[in-house]
């Protein structure tokens, strides 16, 4: 993959983030070897192979990993990080980064949770969602208009929001008993597999964002800015406005993640999800989206999230110390970034 990757990627990045040969299976005249190479040029192939390897290894290594109940657990444990990571993907595609995504989501949960005790759940939820979008849009303002580096701007926002949420709640947590707020944590049982509404929402959101990125003019501009803001500007893209829109739209995903979080753990807790920002970045990077921007997409992020969660789930089941779990995740990140570096360099050569 590494040898042929650069050229094929270069051909493939385009503005949609998909290789031109995406329809490989529809081209039967291709030689098998070329097909395989093309397949690996497709950005989600690497993560998908990694996910399959993880499933095979843990299924063989433990008796409890591969069953419907545990598959459901992995999906349930993925929805919050996965939904956050969708917003993060969008931001990383324009060569940004958001260290505040988890904190913004937690702010949304505590705002909703605190109002749910004395206002209608609908109002509580609306306020929570607004808090998320507002905070994310504030990120967008300082980054797009005031040109602060995203790392620093969102690091600042992260500490402000995290402390703000604690001040707002007086460090209390709010148990959630509203059916509306906790709705995403339940769902129909398909045998031993519980399909929560949160999982369905996660899949739907992934598809919607995938469509927006690949099929709309806005999506084309997002990839164009990620590849080269200067070139995008020359082509008439209003970079400032699109970058702002990216951060604000990411806030919509954080808002959905807040709703997901209330469904999954029905306690709005300002001390929760302390490393969700890093987990979401990990999921995006493992999913093959380039930290340089302009390459990757939501399908990879979906798989990347499952990799992060399945790895943790499987290692716990195998009785492996949590610290080794973190090392394993770290190694995966470095492999993913290493591959990205290699491909990115090839692209620029």
């Amino acid at each position: 993959m590494t040898v042929q990757g650069p050229e094929l990627h270069r051909a493939g990045v385009g503005l949609t983030g998909e290789p031109e040969g995406a329809g490989v299976s529809a081209t039967p005249s291709l030689q098998f070897g070329r097909r395989v190479r093309r397949l690996f040029a497709y950005p989600t192939t690497g993560p998908l192979v990694a996910l399959v390897v993880i499933f095979v290894v843990f299924s063989a290594g433990t008796s409890t990993f591969l069953n419907a109940g545990n598959m459901s657990l992995i999906a349930q444990q993925s929805v919050v990080i996965g939904t956050l990571a969708l917003g993060q993907t969008l931001i990383i595609l324009v060569s940004g980064i958001d260290l505040a995504d988890g904190a913004i989501m937690v702010l949304g949960t505590v705002v909703a949770g605190s109002y749910a005790s004395h206002a209608s759940p609908l109002i509580a939820m609306a306020l929570g969602l607004l808090a998320c979008v507002g905070a994310a849009a504030a990120n967008g303002v300082v980054i797009a208009w005031f040109r602060l580096p995203p790392f620093i701007a969102t690091l600042g926002m992260y500490t402000i929001i995290a402390a703000g949420a604690r001040l707002y709640t007086d460090s209390r947590s709010f148990p959630i008993d509203s059916d509306l707020l906790s709705a995403l944590g339940s769902g129909p049982d398909l045998g031993a597999f519980t399909a929560t509404y949160g999982m369905i929402l996660w899949v739907v959101l992934t598809l919607v964002l995938g469509y927006a990125l690949n099929e709309t003019a806005w999506g084309v501009r997002v990839y164009a800015i990620g590849n080269s803001p200067a070139a995008a500007r020359l082509n008439g893209v209003n970079v400032t406005r699109v970058v702002f829109s990216v951060y604000a739209v990411a806030g919509v995903f954080y808002a959905f993640a807040a709703w997901q979080a209330l469904g999954r753990t029905p306690i709005a807790d300002p001390s929760g999800y302390q490393i969700a920002n890093l987990d979401s970045i990990t999921a995006v990077v493992i999913g093959g989206t380039s930290l340089f921007g302009g390459r990757g997409g939501v399908a990879g992020t979906f798989i990347g999230t499952l990799i992060v969660v399945a790895l943790k789930n499987g290692l716990t089941q195998a009785g492996i110390d949590s610290l080794y779990q973190e090392i394993a995740t770290g190694v995966l990140v470095m492999l993913a970034v290493g591959a990205d570096q290699y491909l990115g360099r090839g692209q620029r050569a």
Partner: protein, 336 residues
């Protein structure tokens, strides 16, 4: 900057004399208490981040005790967990301000040792609250929960409640390099009467002491070991998270925890947690300040380790293990 108004050095030049004059002027605006009269003096209270209501209650008890005895108080808090730099700067300020005693809740067991030595060399009584220094003798005395004993209590309760039923234990630990986490963990195993690696221990997993990570860790453990029927948790939020996992998996698990926050006691009352052990942050603050007052007024310096109390809270008392019910717990709990 001059150290204070009491310098005896008369060989200064003009510039020094001016500085001295400035220092005198500065001394005039200092609170009267710093010029240590008999009863009314200044003490310092150094706490951890007040985002945690436990530390808030501890600090308030210390300040209230000092005020009740007519003392002046300076307070300072670490900004985040492990933020010893802020605490060191605070102790330096307190030494400069001429405090007679300091209660310190160290953010780091070793980082604060040198500055505490400096304070004690300056004649200041320094006692630790909640957690101690390494070595403990670096401060005059320590006022804290005996976390090992807290673990022993829930371990004994769980063992007595299980009786002869075979136990499959799960442990939801916080990072075991943390002194408190390790003491609670070891205490639980001791109280239950099992050693590390005993076959009755089905599995363990780390969490961050909150509901969300407690839930995920317990889900994974239950998936691997559906027979788990006894659970130790590092604190009540982790136990509350684990409860969601247990409920979803429709299991029956004896849940034990430690802390005694009001939220945790309510979880004992509604059956989410079987038993928890209450800590008493207010007693830590009160006992620490009283010890300083005693040391300053009659010179009897405090020393050693003082357990500020551990009380088992459960609505299902077990034979041979002393406990109080959740009603008593709600009257004595800390936090919201």
């Amino acid at each position: 900057m001059p150290k204070g108004p009491h310098s005896q050095d008369h060989r200064w030049g003009n510039r020094a004399a001016l500085t001295l004059a400035a220092a005198m002027a500065f001394a005039a605006i200092l609170p009267a208490a710093t010029r240590a009269e008999d009863k009314k003096f200044l003490i310092g209270v150094v706490e951890l981040q007040l985002a945690n209501p436990f530390f808030g209650k501890l600090e308030k008890a210390a300040v209230d005790t000092a005020k009740k005895n007519g003392l002046e108080v300076m307070t300072a808090e670490a900004k985040t967990a492990g933020d010893s730099a802020t605490q060191i700067a605070a102790v330096e300020n307190m030494i400069n301000r001429g405090v007679k005693g300091i209660t310190l809740d160290p953010a780091n067991a070793t980082a604060l040792v040198p500055i505490v030595k400096k304070a004690r060399d300056a004649g200041i009584v320094v006692v630790t609250t909640n957690t101690s220094l390494q070595p403990r003798e670096a401060a005059d005395a320590a006022y804290e929960t005996d976390n090992f004993q807290a673990g022993v209590l829930i371990g004994q309760w769980a063992k007595a409640t299980m009786g002869s039923k075979p136990a499959h234990i799960a442990l939801l630990d916080y990072d075991l390099s943390d002194k408190t986490s390790k003491a609670r963990h070891d205490g639980f195993l001791k109280g239950f009467g099992v050693g590390e690696g005993d076959p009755q221990i089905a599995g363990s997993a780390l969490n961050m002491g909150n509901a969300e990570t407690g839930q995920t860790a317990m889900e994974n453990l239950l998936s691997a070991h559906p027979d788990i029927n006894v659970l130790y948790t590092i604190n009540e939020p982790a136990a509350q998270g684990a409860h969601f996992a247990i409920k979803k998996a429709k299991r029956d698990v004896l849940v034990t925890s430690i802390d005694g926050s009001c939220s945790g006691v309510r979880s004992v009352a509604d059956g989410t947690i079987g038993a928890t052990v209450m800590q008493f942050p207010d007693r830590m603050g009160q006992m620490a300040v009283e010890a300083i007052i005693k040391a300053v007024s009659d010179g009897a310096k405090p020393s050693g380790f003082h357990n500020t109390g551990t009380v088992l809270i459960t609505d299902h008392p077990a034979p041979g293990v002393d406990s109080k019910d959740s009603k008593w717990g709600l009257e004595n709990c800390w936090g919201a």
